[in-house]
């Protein structure tokens, strides 16, 4: 194990026309870490994911993963380096079975179809979709689709997993199950970068948290320090709440 960070983001920026979606963002992740990326809607979190996973190219700055620059790499190449992502709006292959969906991910590491199928089955069992393995993805509930999204990414055997709101739209029981799953994935040695609006989940899972607002990092620190930080409260609720008298 090297001491160098697994992921190092230095001064990246992205502009869409007149909107500076991400500005001069820097942060680093250690191996085995769970980092939460939070911020109000429109803060630029998903744009950061797109920049890291190669779906967008940064206008400025550099991203290094596992000591390697990701500049100019296409998403598939980044995935093969061990950086996998999920999509906030899940994108299952609707006509394929759950097993065939996950096998596409497994084929990234195991080109033989039968073996990839076995690996996919193991991942499906792990995320708790075993009973649905042969069902077409189009018929799954939202909670199941979120698990499928996670299973597919996991099947590519990443060292860093980017999870984009895998708990959005789920009820509290389903969220608890996903939190437990994320924790076990992390325990198996996979680092996780997490975008999540469910604060309880982020706070329990993350070792550290980065807060974005209008594309800029405003605070970075341990969950406990973040929760009561005036700038975080200001970003979420507006300035007047920061100095409001406690009830």
């Amino acid at each position: 194990m090297s001491e160098a960070p697994l992921l190092e983001v230095r001064g990246i920026g992205k502009r869409f026309g007149g909107l500076q979606a991400v500005r001069d963002l820097s942060f680093a992740m250690a191996r085995g870490e769970v980092l939460g990326l939070i911020g109000p809607n429109g803060a630029g979190k998903t744009t950061v994911f797109n920049l890291l996973s190669g779906f967008l190219t940064p206008d400025a700055g550099a991203v290094h993963f596992d000591g390697r620059s990701l500049a100019g790499l296409k998403p598939h190449a980044i995935c093969r380096l061990g950086l996998a992502r999920t999509f906030q709006i899940v994108r299952p292959f609707p006509h394929l079975s759950v097993l065939d969906n996950v096998r596409v991910g497994a084929l990234a590491r195991e080109p033989r179809m039968e073996k990839a199928r076995d690996r996919a089955r193991a991942v499906i069992e792990r995320v708790g979709l075993g009973a649905k393995a042969e069902h077409p993805a189009a018929g799954l509930t939202l909670a199941e689709r979120k698990r499928l999204e996670l299973a597919r990414a996991l099947a590519t055997e990443p060292t860093l997993l980017l999870l984009d709101e895998v708990m959005a739209g789920l009820n509290s029981t389903e969220i608890e199950a996903i939190v437990a799953l994320a924790r076990s994935i992390n325990a198996s040695g996979v680092s996780i970068l997490l975008i999540e609006h469910n604060m309880r989940a982020v706070m329990t899972l993350s070792h550290r948290i980065v807060v974005l607002s209008f594309g800029e990092k405003i605070v970075e620190g341990a969950p406990a320090a973040i929760a009561n930080h005036p700038r975080v409260i200001e970003a979420y609720l507006g300035e007047e709440y920061v100095h409001a008298p406690a009830r």
Partner: protein
Amino acid sequence: MKWVVAAAIALLLALPAWLNSYAVTVFIFIFFYAFLGQAWNIVGGYAGQLSAGHAAFVGVGAYASALLSARLGLTPWLGMLVGGALSAALGTVVGYLGFRFGLRGFYFVLLTVAFAEVCRIVALNTDAVGGALGYYITFTGDPRQFQFQDNRAYYYVALGLMLVATAIVAAIERRRFGAYLIAIREDEQACEALGVNTFRYKMLAMVVSSFLTGVGGTFYAFYLFSLQPSSVFGIPLSVEIVIRPIVGGAGTVLGPILGSFILSPLAEASRIYFGQGGWSGAHLIAYGLLLIAVVLFLPQGAYPALRRLWLRSFAR
């Protein structure tokens, strides 16, 4: 399943013994269009990249082997490989332009149609290949020149082409290549996120598909003995190629064959009944109606529907 396939092949091999010459011709067209449909199926059915200009590859393959045979004395048996290679080269150009610049859906359709039309116009205006008069091959009946006295020889060649293309498609479907193509058809961005080099696999599908289609060009040339730019490069031929796998089931191994067994006799029948008395081309109306029916009632084609029916009634 293996036994069903073996029995079907044995039946098709034995069939000419009982058929008259006209029926043999009908089967030749069934096999040949099934072959072209199967070649299209790789890029259009599995990868979901709707090429509507596959006639371009037939034409390039047909003109290449015909000219190589006449000018350089190269036997069409080898010329068909050269024609396939030239078509694959054209497929590479079309694929590169389409996939590198992310043309999807209708835009890719238009690109492929445009290329076929350019080929047609170039052939139409190049006197060295016969121009608008077309190019004619002298019949010698020499098997070494891909010419046969007996119609049944063409039957077996066309059957062979269909079986080889089907075996290739079946092999692709069982491999990672096929799994990736199907996934690309479903959602390209998700594929990229899962480590699939979508550009490379789409290109590969296009190259294999255009190569096979170009090989078919040789059969076209040396079965019909005349090449007219508006027929061999024309949009109607592209439609003939596309419609069989769509009716039979695009992205399935047996779809193009089933589609050809449905449509080729239909085209033949309407040619007989409407061919005289100024009704020629009426089979195109029949195609249109059939296509509407398929889109409405069997959007995945006939084969998946038959399979479901089969499973429901026999495999309880």
